[in-house]
Each structure stands twice: as C-alpha cells, then as structure tokens.
Symmetry: D2
Subunit: 443 residues, 4 copies
Amino acid sequence: MSVKDEIPAIFLDKISPKGLEYIQKTKDFVNDWCIPADQLYHDQISLEPSKRWKSTPEVTGKLKAKAKELGLWNMFLSKHYPEGPGFTNLEYGLMAGYLGRSFCAPEATNTNAPDTGNMELLAKYGTPWHKEKYLKPLLNGDIRSAFLMTERGTSSSNALNISCSAKKNAKGNYVINGLKWFASGAGDPRTTVWLVMCKTDDNPDAPYRNHTVLVLDAKKALASGRAKNLRPLDVFGYDDAPHGHCEIEFNDYEVDAEEMKNVVLADVGRGFELIQSRLGPGRIHHCMRLIGAGEFALIRVQHRANHRMIFGKPLMRWESYLNQFAQFKIDIQKCRLLVLNAAHKIDISDAKGAQQEIAMAKIETPRTILKVLDWGIQMFGAEGVSNDVELARMYAHARTLRIADGPDEAHLGQLARQEMKKYKEADKFFERHAAQQAKIAKL
Amino acid sequence: MSVKDEIPAIFLDKISPKGLEYIQKTKDFVNDWCIPADQLYHDQISLEPSKRWKSTPEVTGKLKAKAKELGLWNMFLSKHYPEGPGFTNLEYGLMAGYLGRSFCAPEATNTNAPDTGNMELLAKYGTPWHKEKYLKPLLNGDIRSAFLMTERGTSSSNALNISCSAKKNAKGNYVINGLKWFASGAGDPRTTVWLVMCKTDDNPDAPYRNHTVLVLDAKKALASGRAKNLRPLDVFGYDDAPHGHCEIEFNDYEVDAEEMKNVVLADVGRGFELIQSRLGPGRIHHCMRLIGAGEFALIRVQHRANHRMIFGKPLMRWESYLNQFAQFKIDIQKCRLLVLNAAHKIDISDAKGAQQEIAMAKIETPRTILKVLDWGIQMFGAEGVSNDVELARMYAHARTLRIADGPDEAHLGQLARQEMKKYKEADKFFERHAAQQAKIAKL
Amino acid sequence: MSVKDEIPAIFLDKISPKGLEYIQKTKDFVNDWCIPADQLYHDQISLEPSKRWKSTPEVTGKLKAKAKELGLWNMFLSKHYPEGPGFTNLEYGLMAGYLGRSFCAPEATNTNAPDTGNMELLAKYGTPWHKEKYLKPLLNGDIRSAFLMTERGTSSSNALNISCSAKKNAKGNYVINGLKWFASGAGDPRTTVWLVMCKTDDNPDAPYRNHTVLVLDAKKALASGRAKNLRPLDVFGYDDAPHGHCEIEFNDYEVDAEEMKNVVLADVGRGFELIQSRLGPGRIHHCMRLIGAGEFALIRVQHRANHRMIFGKPLMRWESYLNQFAQFKIDIQKCRLLVLNAAHKIDISDAKGAQQEIAMAKIETPRTILKVLDWGIQMFGAEGVSNDVELARMYAHARTLRIADGPDEAHLGQLARQEMKKYKEADKFFERHAAQQAKIAKL
Amino acid sequence: MSVKDEIPAIFLDKISPKGLEYIQKTKDFVNDWCIPADQLYHDQISLEPSKRWKSTPEVTGKLKAKAKELGLWNMFLSKHYPEGPGFTNLEYGLMAGYLGRSFCAPEATNTNAPDTGNMELLAKYGTPWHKEKYLKPLLNGDIRSAFLMTERGTSSSNALNISCSAKKNAKGNYVINGLKWFASGAGDPRTTVWLVMCKTDDNPDAPYRNHTVLVLDAKKALASGRAKNLRPLDVFGYDDAPHGHCEIEFNDYEVDAEEMKNVVLADVGRGFELIQSRLGPGRIHHCMRLIGAGEFALIRVQHRANHRMIFGKPLMRWESYLNQFAQFKIDIQKCRLLVLNAAHKIDISDAKGAQQEIAMAKIETPRTILKVLDWGIQMFGAEGVSNDVELARMYAHARTLRIADGPDEAHLGQLARQEMKKYKEADKFFERHAAQQAKIAKL
C-alpha cells in the first residue's frame, strides 16, 4: 500500500515530493530489511555474561550500510540543521511511524535515541571541537552516546532535583560526584561520549540556572576508575544488551585540564534550557515510533487471526476480534492526529510553542499503544508473552515511555496548570452572560 | 479569545479569510446572544399540554433576526450548493463547534437538524416545484421540516428493514401505510413538509433499489386523518417541545393527484442513495456541535469550580479536578482532530470518500462528550441533574447521538468490515518477511 | 427461579427460614404485581400542571393493600426495632434486590425513601408524641414525609456547611430561615411531616454540635406562608410527580409554642449524630435496589435480544452481546457481594463499624448499574431513551445516587483518609523486612 | 495487624480456630521469612547459561525447613485428601492471599503450581505405585513435577485440540509424538515426573473420551534422547530459571514395558475429566495469590509514597495518589469477595458446582491485579520497571494468568453460554407480565 493512502487527509499537502518519496522508502526499507532482521539481531547477542556487552550484532552493520546506500540516514535532523537531510518534523514523524515497527530500524538509520537528542544538542550548542570529535562520528554512525540525567532516589522529571555535582577544585577542574541510572546506551561498547546533567551551582535565587550539561569522554572516565558502570538495569526481564540502561557512579571523578577546555556544553548554568530543547522533538519521535509499533502489532495479530482456529472458526471471523481491531484502528488514528499536529506545530513555531500539543501526544500515545500491544499478546495466548513474537518486548519498551521524559502525571499536571491560567475567563464569560441575559429579556 | 488560537495548527492554512471571519462571528454571536437566551427559551414554553405544542418561544424569532443581520445564516450549505454562503465543510465544522454550545444557536442560524439535511436533499435532488414550495421557505427559516425514517419494531439503521409501504392504487396514486417514530421536528407547528422513506418495491434481487423518498405536505396529510401524529416521545423525560420526536402513523393515506406530480424525490428506487448522501456531512455537524457542548460544559464547570468550596479549598484547586479537566481537554482535542480531518476529507473528495473518517468521528465523539457532560453533572452535584444548568439536557441529547444515524455498533461493525477487506495483506506481509529473512541471513 | 439459587453461596446459611420465605414472597410480589403496574402508575399521573401534584396514582393504593395482605410491609425496619417485622439487614438487603426492579414496589411495601430513614429516626429518637402523631401513620402507609437537608449553594455532603438557621426568638420559639432543595417527597400531597436539619448554634469549638434535626408539621408550615414550596426540581427531564424533589424556602418561619414542645428530635446539637445513623442502612437499601434495577434491565434486554433481528440474526446470537451480558453479570455480582457483606457487617456490629464496607458499596454500585442501564438503552436503540421502556428513567434515578448521600468523591476521599491512617505500617513493614533480610542472609 | 481484621465480615464464622491460627502463621511466615528472602533467591541464580538451570537457590531449602517446622506445609490439599492438613478451600484461600505476596513463599510451603495440581491428581487417581514413587516425595518437597498440556500452534484451552499422540506399538507400548510447550517447572533439575495430556484415541463420536493423562518418568524420557527439552521460553524477558517454562518435543518416544504398568492415570480416555478436576481449586489458588501480590504492591507503593517528594510534598499527600489507592482497595476487595465466595462454593458443593463462581473470579482477578501492579510500577518511575522492586516481575507473572488455564475470552464465553441457556425465561417473564398487566388494569 502506498504511504500516501496511510497519511491522514489533512496532512497530505504539507508534505514535499521529496518527503513523500523518503517516507515511502522508509516504509519499504523497514518492511523488507529491518523487520525480517529483528529475530536475527536478538539471536546474535550472546547469553554469556562475559560476551553479552562486548559486541554489536553483526546484522546491524549490514543494515546500516543498506540504509546509507538508500539515503535513509539521520532523517530526524530537521531542516533547521544544516547537517541533516532537510525534512520537516512532520515528514520525519511519518517516517518514524514506520521505523517504530522494527527493533532494528532506528539504529539502522542512525535515528536511535539517545543519540538523536545528543546529536541535536551537539549540533546546536557544540564547539567546533565537540563537532569534530563527537558529532561527526555520531552522524556517521561510527560511535554511540549516552545522556546521563536520571538519578536514583529522586524525582528526576523535575530537573531541580538533579544533585550530581560538578565542583571546581583548586586546579580549576570539575570534580564530579553522584549516581546516575537508567543511562540508556551506556552499555554499548561503541559509546564514547556522555552528556551529563550536573549541578554546578547552588543558588536558591536562580534555581533554573544551577545546572550545566557536561560533555565527557566516556572511555576516559571509565578507565579512571572514578566513574563506574555499576550494572545494567533490567526493564521487565530485558537488559537490552548491548545498548543497556546503566547505573553510573561518579566518585570524585576529576575532569582533566585538556578535557576541561570543552567540557561545558553551551554555557555554565544553561542545563535546563538544553534539556528542554532536547525533549520536544524527541517526544514526537518516541510517539510516532510507538504508533508504528501499534500498527505492526495489528498486522502481526491479523496474520495470526487469519489462521488461528477457535471452535472451528478462524479468529478473524469472531465479532469480538473484529470490533476490537476496528476500535484500535480508531484509537491509533486519534494518537496519530495528535502527534502529527504537534510535529506540524513545531515546524511552524518551535518546540516551546508546541508545548501543549507535545504534552497531549506524550500522555496519550504510550498508553494507547500499550493497550494495543496488550491485546496483541492476549490474541497470541502463551506465545504472546514469549519472545517468539515481538509483542512482549515492545510492551516492555512502550511501558517505559509512560515514565521516561516525564511520567504521564507530570505532563498532565503541567497541562492542567496551563489550563488553569485561564480560569478567570470562565468568570468573565458568566459576567457577560448575565448582562446579555438581561438585555435579551428586554428585546 | 480569538478563534484562531482555538483551531488546531494543522487546519489553520486551510481556512479562508472570510471563513475565519465568520467563525469568529459565530463564536461571538453564540456567546453573546444564544447562550444567554437559552434559559429564556425554555421558560417561554408552556407546561400546559394544550399550549405546549402550539407555538415557538418568542425569543427564537429575535435571535433569527439578529443572526440574519449578521449574515450568520445557512452556513451548513457547503460551497457545492449555490444557495449557500460558500463555506467548506471544514469551515462550517469549526462554526458548528461554537453553535453546539447553545440550545438556541442552531435554530437561530437556520442550521438545525433535520432541516439541514432536508434542505441539502431538496437542493440537490428537488424539482423546481420542490425548491419553490419547500426549499425557499426552509432556507428563509419560515417553515420547518421532518425526516420520517425510523420505524418502531425494526432495526432502522439498516434501511433494508424499512417497511412503511407506498403502493400505487388504481388511480395511480401512492397509498402509504406504516408506523414511523422518532420523527424529530414533526411536533413543530411550523413543520409543513415531511420527507418519508418508503418501500415502493419488493424486489429481492435489487434490495437497495426498493426504497424511495417521498415529499409530503405535512399539513395536508394530518388534515386527512389518515396520517396521525400519535404522540411525542420523551428522551430521558424531555419531550423537546415544540420540536418533538413524534410517532406518525399512516393508515391508507392516499397522496392526491396534484401532489403526486412532485411526490418522488429524485427517482423511484433511489431512497438508499439519498439517505446515504444525507448522512455524511450531517454526522460531522452533530459531532462538531457536541464538541461545542463539551467545551461549554468545561467553561460551566470551571466557573463553578472557581467558587465552590470543598473542605475550605475551591474545587479548582483540587488535584483530582485539575487532572480530570486537563484529561478532558485532551479527549476533546482528539475528537476535534478526528472530526475536522473527516470534514476536510469530504471537502477534498466527498462523503463517500470520507466514509471511514466519518465513521470514526461518529463513534468517538458522542461517547467522549457524554463523559465530559457526566463529569460536569457530577461536579455540580444535585444541581447538575436539574435543569438549572444545561448539563443534564445536553447529556440526554448527546446520548441519542450514540443511536441516531446508526448506533455505535453499526459504525464499528462497518469499519471492521472495511478493515477486514485487507486481511490478506497480513499474509502477504509475512510471506515476503520469510523470504527476506532468508535473504538477510545469507548477507 | 427460586431465590435460593440467586443468593451467593456464602450468605445462604445466614438467612433464617422466615427470611428466605419473605425474600421469595418479595420477588414474586414484585414480578407479578409491581413491575406490571409500573406503566399504569405513570399513566395515571396527569400532565396538567394544576392536577399533577394533587393526587397519587390509584394503582398505588391497590398495590399497598395487596402487599399488606401478603405481610410485605416495612421490611426495612431491622430487628433492632420492635415496630418492624424482624429481619436482618442482610435479609432485607436481599428483598430490596427485588424491590428495586420496579418503580412502584418500594412505595407498595412502605419501604420507600425518604420515609424509611425518617421512620428509623422517629422510632429510635422520637418522643411518644412523635411516635403517635407521625411514626404510626408512616408505618401504616397513611402519610408521607420529607427530609430537608440539602441546601443550594453549598456542598451539603459536608454537613458542617448546612446553614439553614433555627434561632429562638423572645418567646422561646424557633424562627427558621434558609433555603433547602432536593427535598425528595416534599411534593407529595400526603406529606405531613418534615425533618429539617438546622443550624441551632454557631460554636466554632464544637462544630459537630451546632446542628439539630427539627420535626415540623409540613402542612402547618406551608399554610403559614413563611415556608414555601418554591418549585419541584427536575432530574434530567423527570419531575417525579407527585413525589417530587422540591425547593423549600423558610423566611422567618416561627414554630408555634405547641409545636415547640416536640420540635427537637433527640436533643439540641445532635443533628450530626442523627444524620450519620440515618445514612448507613439507607445506603445499603439504595444499593440493593439498584442491583435489582440492573438485574431487571438485563431481563428486559434479554427479552428484546431474543427477538430483535440484526442482519438476519437475533441480537442474542451476536458475540458482542453475549460477552457484554456475561460481563455485566460479573460486575453486578461483585457489587452484590460488596453490598451484602456491608449489610452483614451492620448486622454483626453496627453502621459505624461497617462504615468502610458501606462506603465501598456506595461508591461502586451506582456507577456499575449506570453502565448496565446505559448498555440496556443502547441495545434498545431509540426506544431505549424513551419512556416506552423504563431504562432511561432508571438511569436518571441511578445517576442521582452518585450524588445523593454524598458524592462518590466524598466517599472515596473518606476511604482514602481511613487507609492513610495506617500509612506508617508500611514503614514498619520495611524496617522489619530489612532486619529479617540480614538475618536470612546469615542462615 | 491480626488477619482477623483483614477477613471480610461474612467469612469470619466459616473459619475454624485452627484455620484462623494457620492463616495468621502463614501471614507471619510470609512477611518475616519469605518476602525478605525474595531478593536473595534471585541473586542466588547464576547468570551463566551453563549453571543457570542446574541448581536451586540455597535459600529455598532453608525456607522449606522453616515452613515444615511451623507446620506450614501442603495447606492446599483440602480436607477431602487424607494426605493433607485438613483445611477448607476457603481457609487455604485466605492463606494463599498471603503466600502470593512473595515469590518464594509457595515453594517454601510446598504449595507451588504445577505441583499442587499434580499432587491432587496423583492423590485422587494414582495407583499405589504412583503414590509411593511420585506423590510421597512430592508431598515431602523432595522432587518436583510438570504438567505437559499446552501445545504450540493450537488453541490448547480447548482440550479437543490437543494432538500429542500416544499410540500403542506392536509391543503394546505407547509411542509418543508431539510438541508441548510452556511446560512450567520442566526446567527444574529436581523435576522427575511429567503428567502428559495425550491423544490416545481418535473417535469422532466421543471426542471427550479421546485423551488420556500419562505419567512419565521425566529423567528416563530425557535420557532416551527421544524426548527433548528444546528450550526454556521467556515471559516478558524472564526465563524463571530454574523452574522454567519449557518446550518439550516427543519424537517416537516409546514408554518401556516396565513403565507401561502404571503409565495411565485413572483410565484411558479420562483425560478430560482429570484436567477439569485439576483446574477448579487451582484457579482459586492463582487468584488468591494474585490478591496477595496486589496487596503487597500497595504496601510497597505506600512505603515509597511516604518518602518520595514530588514538588515538595510527599507522594502520599497528593490527592490523585490517595484516590487511586482507595479505589484499588475497593477493586481488590471486590475480587477477594468473588474468589472467597467461589472457594466456599467448592467447599459446600464441588468444583463443578462452583464453575460459574470460579469463572467469574478467574476473569476478574488477574486483570484487576494487573492494574494495581501497573500503577505500582508507575508510582516507582524508572525503578518500577526494573528488578530492584518486584513489581515488573509480578506483572509479567500476573499477565500470564489472563492466558493460562484458559484465556479470559474462553471463560467469558463459557459464562455467556451458561447465561444464554436461560434466555427463554425472559420471554416467560414478559408473557406473565402482560397477563398480570391486564389483570391489574381491571382491579
């Protein structure tokens, strides 16, 4: 099916011919190369603890070569970035709607988190040195990166709580202390750079200026023994090796004089601003990939339903199946419209101007897709919870997205506060209403 | 607030300057004149059974005059109709999003059902005589009309079940027999024309060609004594006088020779086609008015919440209130996007081409808005179920829209059947998948 | 079907043989006499405003005579009251589970609110004079009563907010000022006594001792012109004439010296205590009647489903129908267990001891039954919202029970506060857990 | 807190003093020994593939010794079994409500599935040889067992679909061919006996007599090379080593002459009957353990909420938290009542007589507890999806219980079919209703 038939009517004329061409290419690449490679990818990861984190599945390199050949590379970098291929957020959103169907596809096209957000930050705020040393190989898919934000024991979605400290010692070098966890990608053997959210000041009068993003050489830090990768954390029972979600401890880790020259991203005290700018498009990417996962789950379930016999009738002929399938098509469509509308709002204003739209998309999409995936699991019976199909793994991943980048509750609370800024309008409305009522009665 | 700030980003550049101007005018008219008149409207309807169905509240005439003066008249007639003001379905959809805030607004602007659908039919299929006799005064708001479709004792959403018969007698005149009910608007003293879905043939080989829409002079029919308005039906205790939802019995009612000349709308046997064409935009109108009702309910509740003290704290400061308010903003937004996307699809193709989008909107919007209204009732406590606020009445009306024009179940079933036409794609997908898997393994 | 087969296993041996006999008699009486009389009851109420509130449907008297003859009278008065027939709350709860199937049944058996709660109060706290003048004729079904509690403009579920004042004048007589509304039963021409919750003191140090229940002669009060029945309030579009939910205004109404002798129920300042004791069993009655309504709705729907053809197949053969029916059977059963467990807890302790169980039942039952009724309406299509079946009326009534006697939110909040009193247990649990963990590690 | 305060009122007098004593002992043992050992248990399982399935965590043995010492052993074997301690299903149900709080507790008390059901079968249907060889060491906790039922590629919840064949060869020995999977416990190194559901006949006239349960020596079968443990299956990434959920392939496995003497459990062709009898109480056990898991999750969350600061206020002071907590208390209570009522129904009739009650409990409990656990995860943020708390693991396990022993859909469908057997009652009801209506009208 042509992607054109899958794009909601209202978005059609917003997409350039090149955009449409690459959306189609993305779909075809994902369906033909990435989804069929997913099982192989997992099979190529060793169960031996000593080998599990040491290498990347071989198939990844092959897919990356194929993607590059097709020009399907770094599509996430929107047209504001000269380094990117020049798509809008809306166009890339539609591509991400296909990338999300496959575990392998984001890495194959160099559009995987957290590298995407890190590349955006380095492109926007990095020094020439940052760009040469880290951005270039990241853009080329040669290295990987991690973003060390979340901390154990505190509500990290409120960045004011971030306490990992970077203080200058007598030599003028930062000394870092603190415990970060759920640092996604930190387990990958190719990860050579960490962006670390640190508390560099403690001024109660300017709480939003106390934090700074530091750019650290990950290999050097680990080699020092003063930064330790304590362990990978599981998500449900998945460790997501070799990518991993790691717990990293800094124990008086001193940044050396050479690295100090470029350790600060943007400026000291601009940490808040940076993480804000990082999150907007990233949330849209997550949401659109989830929509891709949901759509793929429906294809997967449909395939089963075509053949699975229940009391002598294929599952696909059961009314409860049919109704639920149709209902999920609606539910997914509602999310798709929310997310793409938010992407377009970013395109015509910016992430800040689209804050409300992004929040709505971020709240609704994961929980909708979780319902789709959960139903998919149920339709597959015991096989559904296993890894013979990808549904349980997709579920575990989608479940994290009701927490990552701010839990549902934080976004809903923020939306509520925005709405409540307008609460006096209701009073004004009914004041005017009363006046008009009197006027009309006398007409 | 400017309407521009309330229109989702993606629709903004689809709206003409004139469209935008009239959307704003609609909002202002509804807020300033219609909502404040709603209570008065109900107060002007007599409780005496002998008077209740004999006249229209006086305020209606005043609002109609005001609306005409402002040019807010017949906006529903989209640009395909030379008789209308030339708006797109999208533009009118946005206007309907304000009209739905007030009980009075649709009639005040001559955009009330079932007149709207009837006018569309007469404009599209009517003879010059139909247009002169009925369409013109309908367009002018001088008369009203009813559509007699639903029958007691059968599932009328499947029009094949419609059994009210029109058979030609020896004189060549139709003789009508049958029982119609829930004929909305049939109670209105100004209703002078009925469009009646009749079974004119009984050919099992062409079941979709057995029905015809007849155009009847309502006053003449009732005067004959062979067509009787048996009673108004209640909706949750509301009789909606003088509009009404009536039960009409035809007992050998013979259409006279004069009327026979123009009694058939379009052609004999095209009943199905006509009701199909009637329903598409009508459903969008209903949905957008519901969205207006939902948004108004939130304003109403907010006003209460600003002042209602619960354990010493205004309701609006309670977290459960705030979260629910924000969640409903999301839920309404999702429906708005569905409905407006469907309206736009009608604009760029037609109602048939937008069938799936319309079905989605029709399924989701009433049940979403019912939840909003139900919450509004709860927030108002005992007052909420009374008629001191409009929430219970709005609820009763919205509840009918999960049934009217086809119950949710019918639309969901139809969507499912559409989806299932594609079921073999899943098999093809996994055939190709298997082939590619083998290919990739050998790379 | 024998009622024995409908009682959950665990309750069977708690029911006396006499109890079981009367539960069966109740079921038979309701099915054979009350449900078949319901339509007649409504037909016998005049639409003329001048007559509508002046008399009671004739059929009521006939049903009452029949019920008395069968000994089905005042079953709500539990065995703590010598005036009653001596059933437990559990036994009466099961009877109420049948009474709730019919609009007429509660009045026919003299078990209708608010008379039931009023009779309990008068029996428990009344003077001999109260008992002779009001309790006796109430028990005999000769008069009716109202409880004037709820006030406009305040959250009356928190009785601290009740502001209707009763202050003694120079003569030592109470002078009452205030506005009560939703006084159910106050419209009935037979209502001769009002129990009125008044603020008799304003001591901030003993806020729960500021209120008193006064016993007023309703006819005398209305005749004075200083107490006015301003209007009946609608519930959705139902006015529930002649019972009614009325707005009563006291404007310097002075209780005369004669009435002052017995105007105070129990003692001055015990209003809180009285309304608390009144509410426990009453909530159980409401819940069990709702369960009866839900079960009856399922019978009603099943009857329709047996005959209604949808695309050539009776509704009852559609899987979506079957599954939903079965699911509602479960949902109702869950509520039944909650409610009956609460009734039994009252029996073995008292209403205060069963506070938590009652709250759970009160929160869950109305919203569950509303879902059942709403589905019933949907299955009936347009007919469902009309009064040709009782579903919409039942819905409107059930809807009020998410508000009356405290809205869901109040009960849930109270439950939460009870739970949170135990919050330190979790800390203790994990302190001990840590100690044991250390111990086990060394085993 | 005394367990007496946690038992719903209605069940209190059904519990013997000894029952109450052991319920309390169970609670204390679980809280003091099992929950604190859970982390240690998991830590003692090697990550090395070569060691992971070879041994049982050391702590298990210590807990088992402790439990035996306390007399907390085999409590699941209800008083119908002379081998057991003589509790009712209701009493054991209440114990299981505590056992479910801990991963370790069921094995520690020898009440873990699938051994429980297997022991019941062997006790009820086994030959003296079966009892000596397998039942005795199972009852003593010395060996473990598996039940090989589910097959890949078919809907195994309908046992008619079971195709693993056992056919007698020329020697009169069964030769088994087929593929079983999700054989829980089959990974355990101590598992020495398999109960295998096989198709021993193919008579279309008696489809429910075609299957037989065979008792196989697991070690011998695996040693033959003709029965292979192909792999453990994951559940949301967990392999549950060493217990495991295994895929077992039979490839012309011939039962030898010696084993043939006792290979059939009960009789040939009684497989259906046996699996039916096995499932009733087992479902109740699962449900009650889930309720224990849900309650423990609430304690776990409460502990966090006491200390977790959100915008300067502990989580436990947020209204949304409080309301959700209270709501879950209600939801769990509803399930508890359903399950215990079913357990009591089994006690006073049998599993067949309680079929409907068991189905209701089986449908409702897993999905309710999944919601509790999902909320628990959300309240823990990133930590919630990890294995630093037990919530994700509990979730994965609970998720399988919407599938195991028949998916929700199968049970709901069965309930619906039961209900629909009574559909004619609705017709009779309304026939009588019409007759009575006529009678009443003439009174």
